[in-house]
């Protein structure tokens, strides 16, 4: 049976475009139709400018007719998390404070996507300012998990994961500060990559925590994600933390035999708190890797238990500083009942920010405030040094670390809404990669009995994305989870 368009991977779409079997216009019309049909129940998109999307697709088709195609992904649709700037499009960060804001410029990754001819296909829902793990902190709407609409898609890039899982777009970009790409990828049964810190420019990414934030791809296959990472990676003069380092051919790396590697299983990631079904799926993956000739090594990463406090102190301190720019003066929401400048700050921010953002700003100000700075913020930075050293030492013994991406499958919507601490603690498996600057990938490795997907996480030393992709592809090629897509809204089987 011939596949419907939405069932194609991005690289299959690329192949169909190259062979002339399909036009980009036809592809995006199919995406738009699927968004119209399904997004009322999924709620992945905040904004879809159909006219602009069709114009981009037609321009791509024109280029192809003239033999002037810009890249492998020319004409393929990609949707962006609403935290990445596109000139002239809304950039709300799912916050009331930026409700009417349109970006006057492109993010660096946006420029690269445009230069590759990719069709920018809408703005995706998220937790406000990327703060959250369930996409329930969006000021505008809830997003549902396409595998079970009563469950959360994860967050903060919940829209990015849900849109891909539902087949509304083949690929998307998200951002990952403490797991915000990998965790929703795991919950929605798709592939998500958090690149090494400094691999992708942050220019034009609305900042949450600048020493932790990275933009990365979500897709239904490792190869699609690799192709998208290829386009967005590399140095940018406008982000001095973006490393001037060569970008390997990531797509070629997915086809390369990784040889025999040492893969570490850290005891702390399989201890109390891990769901039994998730543990079983991830350990089966470890068995698979052993059968491929890799050596599975038991390792210890004892500081993992402190990753959550270290992260939430450092991330909120940085957020407090980054979000000071939303003052109601130059752009964004200005309260219309304020009487003077100070009053504008208080009221605009009080009206514009949601509950979780306020909580994190307050927490950040606590750890930075006079008398508490050394005891909380500096201490957390020192423990970060130790934690990073622990991971770097581990990479002397092993080539990769294999863990579950999350302690359990997707939560029901609203499950932790009244207990922010409980929600923070769920981030424990993904946070260390951000603190240590490591690249990480989450890919589907099975389902729990209720039908929700399970994700496994692979971590590597900084800038070893090539190795992550080799091993992730090896797993993907041998398993039926590749190219997963949730069946919703009466999809054919």
């Amino acid at each position: 049976m011939e596949k419907s368009l939405y069932q194609l991977t991005a690289l299959e779409m690329s192949g169909a475009l190259t062979s002339g079997n399909i036009s980009s216009e036809r592809l995006v019309l199919d995406c738009l139709e699927r968004i119209r049909t399904l997004d009322e129940s999924v709620g992945a998109f905040l904004h879809v400018d159909e006219a602009s999307i069709l114009a981009q697709a037609r321009a791509s088709d024109q280029r192809r007719l003239q033999g002037a195609t810009l890249s492998t992904l020319d004409g393929v649709p990609v949707a962006l998390k609403d935290v990445i700037a596109v000139a002239g499009e809304p950039l709300t960060c799912a916050s009331r404070i930026l409700e009417n804001y349109k970006s006057p410029y492109d993010a660096h990754v946006t420029k690269l996507l445009k230069a590759a001819g990719v069709v920018l296909c809408g703005r995706l829902n998220m937790d406000e300012f990327a703060m959250g793990s369930a996409t329930e902190n969006s000021a505008f709407k809830r997003t549902a998990n396409p595998w079970n609409l009563k469950h959360s898609p994860g967050g903060s890039s919940g829209g990015s994961a849900a849109a891909v899982a539902a087949g509304m777009v083949p690929m998307s970009l998200g951002s990952d500060t403490g797991g915000s790409i990998r965790q929703p990828a795991a919950f929605c049964g798709v592939v998500g990559i958090k690149p090494s810190y400094g691999r992708v420019s942050r220019f034009g990414l609305a900042a949450y925590a600048s020493s932790l934030d990275q933009i990365g791809p979500l897709a239904r296959t490792v190869r699609d994600a690799a192709a998208l990472l290829q386009i967005i990676a590399g140095a940018d003069p406008k982000d001095s933390t973006c490393m001037r380092r060569d970008v390997p051919d990531y797509l070629a790396e997915t086809m390369r035999d990784p040889g025999c590697l040492r893969i570490g299983l850290p005891a702390e990631f399989f201890a109390e708190g891990l769901d039994a079904e998730v543990r079983k799926s991830v350990l089966e993956a470890a068995d698979f890797f052993a059968k491929q000739g890799h050596e599975i090594v038991d390792i210890q990463l004892p500081l993992t238990k402190l990753a959550v406090p270290v992260y939430y102190i450092i991330a909120t301190a940085e957020a407090t500083s980054n979000l000071a720019r939303y003052d109601g003066i130059r752009y964004g929401h200005r309260s219309d009942i304020a009487v003077d400048a100070i009053d504008i700050y208080y009221k605009s921010r009080g009206e514009g920010f949601g509950e979780e953002v306020k909580r994190r700003i307050m927490l950040g100000n606590f750890v930075l405030s006079s008398g508490y700075y050394d005891a909380w913020y500096v201490r957390a930075q020192k423990v970060r040094t130790l934690l990073r050293a622990e991971y770097m030492n581990a990479f002397d013994k092993v080539d990769l670390i294999l863990t579950p991406t999350t302690p359990g499958a997707a939560l029901r919507q609203g499950e932790h809404r009244e207990d922010p601490l409980q929600s923070y603690l769920e981030d424990v498996y993904t946070i260390p990669a951000n603190l240590a600057g490591l690249p990480g990938i989450s890919l589907p490795c099975g389902f729990v009995a209720s039908g929700l997907p399970v994700g496994l996480q692979l971590l590597a030393a900084p800038f070893a994305e090539d190795r992550l992709l080799q091993v992730a592809s090896q797993y993907e090629r041998a398993h039926r989870f590749a190219g997963l897509r949730a069946r919703i809204g009466g999809d054919e089987q």
């Binding site: 406090p309 921010r349 920010f353 306020k358 050394d374 020192k382 240590a436 600057g437």
Partner: protein, 102 residues
């Protein structure tokens, strides 16, 4: 100033709201106070780590200064600013008066 971390988890919510420039309703303050104290009490686990002689990490990788040529480049134009400013007049952003009359 160094303060014993074990005594640090009581939160002056009005002071924090002021530092944060956030106008909060009394109900919000009450809720935040309890949540922040619960979170901070949990984070006191950091006390158990010996950090003497350890340098703080500010960045995930070693960041070095990068110098670019000092060249004139395009910035945002007043027309672009007008599209994002909350109040705009005569090619300028309107702000409340912050100095007294002489």
């Amino acid at each position: 100033m160094s303060i014993d971390i074990s005594n640090s988890a009581s939160v002056d919510i009005d002071h924090l709201a002021k530092l944060s420039r956030l106008q909060l309703a009394e109900s919000e303050k009450f809720k935040l106070q309890g949540q922040l104290e619960r979170i901070l009490n949990h984070f006191r686990a950091l006390e158990d780590v010996d950090v003497s002689g350890i340098e703080p990490t500010a960045h995930a990788c070693d960041v070095v200064n990068i110098w670019d040529e000092d060249e004139v480049a395009e910035g945002l134009t007043p027309d672009q600013l007008e599209t994002i400013a909350p109040a705009f007049r005569d090619r300028q952003i309107v702000v409340p008066k912050v100095v007294d009359d002489a």
